[in-house]
C-alpha cells in the first residue's frame, strides 16, 4: 500500500480507531518511512493541541436552573399514562397503518354481519303493526261478528226445497 493510502489509516490510529493488526503494520511502516513518520508526529502534535484541557469550558450553573424551571412549568408530557404510551406507539408508521387496517376490517365485518343475519327489529315492527291494526280496524281473528244466517253465504236458503243438500232451508 502506498504512503498516500496509509495516511488516512494513520489518523485513525492516532484517534484510537484502528485494529491491533493494522496498528502493528503502521508502526512498522513509520519506522522505515521518514515521510510517514513525520506525518504521524505532526498529527499527534495537532491532537495534543486540540485536546488541551485549557480548551474546555464548563457550562454555567444557571443553565440547569433555567432547564429545571422550564420543566416545572411544562412537565414531561410523555412520562406517565396509558394514553400517552398509546399515542407514542402510533408514532410508528407501520403500527399506524396496521391499526387503520384493523379498524377498516372491523367496520366492514360488522356491516356484512348485519346484512346477513335476520333483523330482530323486524319482529318488533310486526308486533307494532298488529297492535295498530287491532286498535283501528279490530282483531281480524277475534272481532268477527257472530255469523248470522243472513250473512252466511252457505245458509241463505228460504226453504228446504231450495236446499240442494236436503236441508230445511232453500238457496236463494
Amino acid at each position: 500500500m502506498s504512503c498516500e493510502n496509509l495516511k488516512p489509516l494513520m489518523t485513525a490510529w492516532i484517534d484510537g480507531s484502528c485494529d491491533s493488526q493494522l496498528e502493528v503494520q503502521l508502526r512498522e511502516h513509520t519506522q522505515h518511512c521518514s515521510a510517514c513518520a513525520a506525518f504521524y508526529q505532526e498529527q499527534q502534535r495537532l491532537t495534543r493541541l486540540f485536546q488541551s484541557p485549557d480548551l474546555e469550558l464548563e457550562p454555567p450553573a444557571w443553565i440547569w436552573t433555567r432547564i429545571s424551571s422550564q420543566l416545572q412549568t411544562t412537565p414531561q408530557s410523555s412520562s406517565t399514562g396509558f394514553w400517552n404510551d398509546l399515542v407514542a406507539l402510533f408514532r410508528i408508521p407501520s403500527l399506524r397503518y396496521a391499526a387503520l387496517a384493523v379498524v377498516c376490517f372491523v367496520v366492514l365485518s360488522a356491516g356484512l354481519l348485519r346484512v346477513g343475519e335476520s333483523d330482530p327489529s323486524g319482529d318488533v315492527m310486526l308486533a307494532q303493526l298488529q297492535t295498530y291494526q287491532i286498535e283501528t280496524h279490530g282483531n281480524p281473528f277475534e272481532s268477527v261478528p257472530a255469523a248470522s244466517d243472513a250473512d252466511n253465504p252457505f245458509f241463505t236458503f228460504d226453504s228446504v226445497g231450495d236446499n240442494p243438500f236436503g236441508g230445511n232451508r232453500s238457496l236463494r
Partner: protein
C-alpha cells in the same frame, strides 16, 4: 470518552429517567452537560449560542426520553439531538444570510452574522492565542468535516461511535476526518506564518 461511566450503570439511570425520575434526569445532565456544551460550542463557535442550545438540547431530551427504545443508545441519541439543534440554528442563520449550508467551501461561521466571527471575550481570556488558533482552524472547515473532526479529536470518540451519530458510513467518516485534519493543519501553518511575519 467524555463520560466515564459503565454502560450498564448508564442504562439503569436512563431507564429510571424514562420512568419519570427527575433525580436521574439530573444525573444525566451532570454526566453529559460539559461534553455536550463543548461539542455544541465547537460546532457553533459562540459560547452564548452554546448555552442556549445546551438548554434546548436537554429540554428536548426530557420531552423525548420516553421514546428512546434502547437505553444503551442514549449517548449517541443525545449527541444526535445536540447536533440537530446546532444544524437548526445554523439553518435559521443561513436563511438570513442566504448562504448554502451544503457549500463544501463555506466555513461554519459563514452562516452566522458577522459579529460571531470575532472570538468571545470569555474564550480569548480562557487561553488566549491557542483558542484563537483552534477557532480559526475549525472556522476553515465545512460542516461535513467539522462535526466528525470535533467528535473524533475534541470528544475523543471512536470512529464507530461517530458513524452512529452522524449517520454516515465508516469509510466516509474516516476519509472526512483525514481531510479535516489536513485542512486544519494547513490553516494552523498559515496562521503561524502570518503571526511570525507580524511579530517580526
Amino acid at each position: 470518552m467524555p463520560n466515564e461511566i459503565a454502560p450498564a450503570e448508564l442504562s439503569k439511570i436512563v431507564a429510571r429517567a424514562q420512568q419519570g425520575s427527575e433525580d436521574d434526569f439530573y444525573q444525566l445532565y451532570l454526566l453529559f452537560s460539559k461534553a455536550i456544551f463543548n461539542f455544541i460550542w465547537r460546532l457553533i463557535g459562540s459560547t452564548e449560542d452554546a448555552e442556549d442550545l445546551l438548554q434546548e438540547t436537554f429540554l428536548k431530551v426530557h420531552s423525548e426520553l420516553k421514546h428512546l427504545r434502547d437505553p444503551n443508545q442514549f449517548r449517541f441519541w443525545l449527541y444526535r439531538i445536540a447536533r440537530n439543534e446546532v444544524y437548526q440554528k445554523l439553518r435559521r442563520a443561513q436563511r438570513s444570510s442566504e448562504v448554502s449550508i451544503d457549500d463544501e467551501e463555506a466555513g461554519y461561521y459563514n452562516f452566522l452574522t458577522d459579529d460571531t466571527h470575532q472570538p468571545d471575550p470569555e474564550t480569548l481570556a480562557l487561553s488566549g492565542e491557542l483558542n484563537e488558533v483552534v477557532s480559526r482552524a475549525l472556522d476553515s472547515l465545512s460542516p461535513k468535516y467539522r462535526d466528525v473532526f470535533v467528535l473524533a479529536v475534541f470528544q475523543k470518540m471512536s470512529y464507530e461511535d461517530i458513524t452512529k451519530i452522524v449517520g454516515r458510513s465508516m469509510l466516509s467518516v474516516k476519509t472526512d476526518i483525514y481531510r479535516a485534519r489536513l485542512a486544519v493543519k494547513e490553516t494552523i501553518n498559515t496562521y503561524l506564518k502570518k503571526s511570525k511575519i507580524q511579530k517580526a
